[in-house]
Amino acid sequence: MSALNVEPNFDDADAFYSALIEAHRGLSDEQSTALNARLVLLLANHIGAESVLRDALEKARQSVDEETNT
């Protein structure tokens, strides 16, 4: 069973981040939320492995909960 990779794995982290910001350019907040949702679904399908996806969901949720509590 494969685990969620949290080590750096981008070909080019700066290029990805810049493309991500660019993808949101000109969108309303609502549209941006929709874009993020679609991005999550596309990437989740690409990953496929349920255990990995569950791990990612947990870590993301945990990070948001921590933020809310601080």
Binding site: V6, P8, S18, N36, K59, S63
Partner: protein, 541 residues
Amino acid sequence: MPSGRQNPVYAYRRSADQDAGVTSRHHPVVIVGAGPSGLTAAIALDACGIDTVVLDDNDTVSTGSRAICFAKRTLEIWDRLGCAAPMLEKGVVWQVGKVFFRDAQVYQFNLQPEGGHKMPAFINLQQYYVEEFLVDRIGELTRVDLRWKNRVTRVEPRDDRVQIEVETPDGHYVLSCDYLLAADGANSLVRESVGAVARGQEFHDQFLICDISMHADFPTERWFWFDPPFHSGHSVLLHRQPDNVWRVDFQIGADADAAQALRIENIRPRIDAMLGEQTKWDLEWASAYTFRCRKLDRLVHGRVLFIGDSAHQVSPFGARGANGAVQGVENLAWKLARVIRGEAPGELLSTYDGERQRGAAENLLHSTRATDFITPKSPISRVLRDSVLRLAKRYPFARALVNSGRLSAPCRYDDSPLNTPDEDRFTSLARPGSPCPDAPISIDGNPGWLLEKLGGSFVLLVAGPAVPDELRTLPDLTVLELGADFAVTSDDLARRYDLVGGAAYLIRPDQHVAARWRRLDAGAVTRALRRALGCELKEVA
């Protein structure tokens, strides 16, 4: 108390041009502006045997520290030109960087330097020291006529020369030149005179920059805060310079009143909140700025060539302004010298534009990306940025996305028409167009560095067997043969160049690779040399 630094004052001297007849006022090269670009250009051209006149409207070096981070490639260029030693001695190096978000440290990193290079990855050094050391170097040279308090009032490009009018404490005079290098900064008068327009993006965020001297020991680390409690909603950068001077850079936003922010009674509480009230410090210099990212469409306008900020400006994040400028000057100097000496066609200068447009575009890209991360432009950008910072505390992958400015890396001129494309396979990254990596070597048993042996002329770096005599007698080509001329003291050279049995590199005078082969062939070397001098550009044109 402040560090006590006083800028040197350079005396105005009346030049022979101001008394001479019309015929004696012509020069091969005039450089307008004695900042890092103009001074480096004069030194680089002197090394090529070209006389220059440098005109500067002031009589001292820059005020305030301005550029403070000088990267390895820049130091290598200055080392080749004989001016790096005092910079290295004075400069400071940090290795530990800390990133904070809100009230907590997110992570810290340690930049372990890669071994086997003469120069460090970078040094922090105030621009006024850099300029002073460059001026000192010029004092040792014979071909640079550096004229202080010579303010250029008018530039008139003509077909056969450029005419320049100058105002001095003694009045006005006129001189002319074959080529004018415009190193007169962001608000270039020369740029206006030739009708060149710099295009790009203007950023509205304001920054308050303070250089402070500290009384107590404070760690030599770079600290970057995103949205700290003492400066909510903005970023703050703290890093060290020589003389116990620290650069503090506060983002203050587009709507801040800069004049108010600059008042000492408003600066003091900000810095006290950051350092803690027990830390004693004095203000050396403060300034508020906004920045632009822009460049000229063409760096070459006939006989007028633009270098430094007059040619391209970037945001300060990533230290790409002065570093990019010096790399541009190094690119131009050897080409201009060979055109002036009649050894290369005038078309060679067009490759200064092509190669450095690429360099400028890269510098703009990296500094703009850092700027976008530091100052999110929309609510969603901020959510993404803050999410990266939250995740970075626990997960290493997110640290790769945190961008508070990347270390300046030199440009590879991958598509340059001066390159002879690879036909053979090499495992090393030193492909045609790349800057040459350094490596430890020894000469007659004495330790040295490869880069000390490269540059000035073209160099044919070969790993045996015997080099044909016809290559040893070519003008402007120096043969550097592994075994015969130098020995290696580590595997760095083999690894960085994949230089084994019979392989050869043709290296340009600016220490960039022009061509490389697995097996040395005199005909191929001669053709690559012609190509690297721009001779084929002329045939196409």
